[in-house]
Amino acid sequence: MKRDHRHHQMYAAVLAALFLSACSKPEAPPSSEVAAAPEPPAEVAAAPTFPERPYFGDTHLHTSYSVDAGAFGARLTPSDAYVFAKGNEVTASSGQPAKLRRPLDFLVVSDHSDAMGFFPLILAGTPEIMADPQGKKWHDMIAAGQGGAAALDIIGNFGRGTISKAILPLPGTPAYISAWQDTIKAAEEANDPGRFTAFIGYEWTSNTGGNNLHRNVIFRDDGDKASKVEPYTTMKPLGSDNPVDLWKWMDAYQQSTGGRVLAIAHNGNLSNGLMFPTVEAFGKKLDVEYVTTREKWERLYETTQTKGTGEAHPYLSPNDEFANFEIWDKGNLDGSVAKKKDMLQYEYARSGLKSGLLLEKEFGTNPYKFGLIGSSDAHTGLSAMEEDNFFGKTTPQEPSSERLTKAFIDNPKTGVKIMDWEVGASGYAAVWATENTRTALWDAMQRKETYATTGPRMTVRLFGGFDFEAKDADASTLAKTGYAKGVPMGGDLRAAPAGKSPTFLVAAMKDAIGANLDRYQIVKGWIDKDGKAQERVYDVVWSDNRVADPKTGKLPAVGNTVNEADASWTNTIGATELVAVWTDPEFDASQSAFYYGRVLEIPTPRWTAHDVKRFKNTPVPGTVMSFQERAYTSPIWYSPN
């Protein structure tokens, strides 16, 4: 009854909302012009004119409302997830206490839209026989303690479209509506403007053939608008597995409610060549409509998460000595198809950014003009990505002496096997916003003023312009100078003045409780004279007064203080802060290009080393025990016109 009533109200609301949306415009990039700031309302602190600090959070977290998470054993709800992210202690699904070292600033609970709330149904009631053979099988597996196997079977069946319709909650059904309303309610209750932002969101999980084309959809809006729709699914007839249809849904939402949504794709590394297509998608040739629509809705790309880091691949970037980092390149999401080398160029952020430049030449719009973030994709309700306090990707991977040596994906047919140790304690999204609210954070995401971290909360600035000079590299005035003379990460540079090259004002500061920094690099991608996409990594500023090899130009490694057995390191090497101005030494004003920052920490122990210390167990041969954590900024694009 309540629902019908809502729909009647909607018509009236729609008109009003459309009018409002016509009046509101996307937030302009922040400016340092103080004079333009309107008079702040009394008793409300004025938001700063430019972002003064990054906010750290997670745009991608599952709870028991996600069908696979539930099957894996997750029992925490969206409410629990927000309580945990705010820094409170909760009891994890595995029964142990869990608490973050530091609270997060924001969180999106992004449960799978397909069959949202399915798991509480499977688990429900006394262990009776389920009417549906599949449901019964999974229920029995879970009851027998094989939740993990059940989850992978559910994911596999989902990808093949073979989940029995009889047991899936579909949009419009009471179970589905109640799961979505619970999700909204949890976010509304947890949202605390100024201190903690709880976004409303969901994951649209296109996984046909086991190929990962997932997108997280994030609402700028409050529950009044978000509850007027139900999440878009991939099940026909109401849903679709083609991102083009998701974009239609997003457009329909905005048109009818006056709200705003954006989508963030992830795990191209498990898409088997489908994430960043250059010729066709879903059997249709790419065209102007595809590239403009994709650019419109897909503002960010989740570059690092528990299922691997997807910035670059050593095969695609053989000259990048740091490309081989937390790589998952054995197959697709369910391991049903092994990876082939020729798929890789369509899977990684850097190659996607390069393809985007080529497609822009062809169609006039760059479909892959995305900013970068990291997030967890944890299926535990716990966004706990600290190496020494890592609560795993799934409930069976919550801390225990066994998690170091078990297999996560093991497909004997294809030989694709991924071990639990390969799961990363990564990452978080850093957002440069003027205040910690839904609108300010969302607007910053929309303008791509974001960066990805693999877990540490280092501060990273990147400004591009044509007039930065060496004296601008003063940390205390950096932001003011940066916004006054250039554009921040995610921005655009156009039509270089004659004789000028792009200059970049860069800065990074270590995590307050983390490791020192090794170096700040700029990754440049461009189209050369022959119309080919190229890339190069430049060391811009580094610690410890190292000198590059005069022959190779290569900077010596920063060193290594890691004691793996003790899972410890010292900040006796590296820098607490790196600041510099850098000018592109090989700039051609007629070539389009992108530039993004990559900041490396000194080597530190990985979660695997912390586990060995804690549980006194023996890792399997080949387990990576230490690494260099890092941050990736959104690019700044240069366009000749």
């Binding site: 629902r3 019908d4 729909h7 909607m10 729609v14 602190a45 003064e52 600090r53 820094g87 530091r102 609270p103 509480p120 149904l121 499977i122 429900a124 009631g125 009776e128 026989i129 389920m130 009417a131 549906d132 449901g135 229920h139 047991i167 949009p171 419009g172 009471p174 179970a175 509506i177 109640s178 209750e189 201190r195 007027k228 729709v229 139900e230 878009y232 007839p237 109401l238 849903g239 849904w249 329909a252 048109q255 009818s256 409610t257 501060t459 600035r461 940390a475 205390s476 005035t477 950096l478 500061m509 270590k510 995590d511 307050a512 409780i513 983390g514 900040n571 607490t576 802060e577 600041v579």
Partner: protein, 283 residues
């Protein structure tokens, strides 16, 4: 152009089209007078189907789409009836769970009818002060020093900088410029710890206000700090925390209502679990 569009939007046209669809469908699905095999797709059902579509797409279905939805509904209805007559409803945990959810919602709603009185909320706040306690709020200035740059001269450098600062020197004139803010305005103590580390945060909680202090260590180096204002932590009044207190009170009421209802119902059942008595498993 405008004219033809506005005709397409005309509710009367929709109504007529829907009527036509219904008429055609009725002929298909309602040939029999037998109650058990009669399916009536009434206007309320049609409206509900259209509502489902609209919940996803934020627009009403076209007549063709609506016909498809109605066809799907009829199909569901027939297969559901056939399945139910085969006994497939029995022991279905999905159905069981939904019925349970419905009952729980009813119980929760009953448990939360009526708005709490101020007296109830005040009592709740007094009984659970830590749930609502506000942290201390700090404003301070800080100057950062890189210990490596001074070696064994660090103490000397800090002492002379502190003297200069207490003598009125500008904070920007001392120490090392960094991305850290020189002035921090009204940051809750727990967020000070988030930004500067626990040790730094703890040091500021009890330090005297107004003069330059230090050295205070953090992950960035060594700081001299002057607290300019410290508002102590406190338990808020009901007026200040009404929203949270009401929410927590309601959550507790809901949980209590569910538990009380279950406990009452549970008494009426004799549960036998292989080998265990009702009493041992009732816990």
């Amino acid at each position: 152009m405008l004219r033809s569009r506005s005709i397409l939007r005309e509710p009367l046209l929709h109504f007529l089209l829907i009527g036509l669809v219904l008429f055609l469908l009725y002929g298909k699905v309602a040939p029999s007078s037998d109650q058990g095999t009669r399916i009536t797709v009434d206007r309320a059902t049609i409206a509900a189907l259209a509502g489902q579509f609209e919940a996803t797409w934020s627009r009403p279905p076209t007549p063709a789409e609506l016909a498809g939805l109605v066809d799907g509904y009829v199909r569901d209805e027939i297969l559901f009836r056939e399945g139910a007559s085969l006994g497939l409803l029995k022991d279905d945990p999905v159905i069981q769970r939904r019925v349970r959810q419905k009952l729980e919602v009813l119980v929760e709603e009953e448990g939360t009818t009526g708005v709490p009185t101020d007296a109830e909320l005040v009592t709740y706040l007094q009984r659970n002060p830590e749930k609502f306690r506000r942290p201390a709020v700090l404003s301070f200035e800080q100057v950062l020093f890189d210990p490596a740059a001074y070696g064994d001269q660090l103490d000397v450098a800090l002492a002379s900088a502190k003297a200069a600062l207490n003598g009125g020197a500008a904070p920007d004139s001392q120490g090392r410029h960094s991305l850290l803010p020189t002035r921090v305005d009204q940051l809750p103590a727990d967020l000070v710890a988030r930004d500067f580390g626990d040790d730094f945060g703890k040091a500021l909680v009890s330090a005297p206000v107004g003069q330059w202090l230090g050295p205070v260590r953090s992950g960035f180096g060594v700081h001299l700090v002057r607290i300019t204002e410290r508002q102590p932590g406190y338990v808020p009044s009901l007026d200040e925390a009404r929203r949270e207190v009401t929410r927590e009170w309601e959550t507790d009421r809901r949980t209590a209502a569910l538990e009380a209802n279950y406990a009452r119902l549970r008494k009426g059942y004799d549960v036998v679990i292989d080998g265990a008595s009702s009493e041992t498993v009732a816990k």
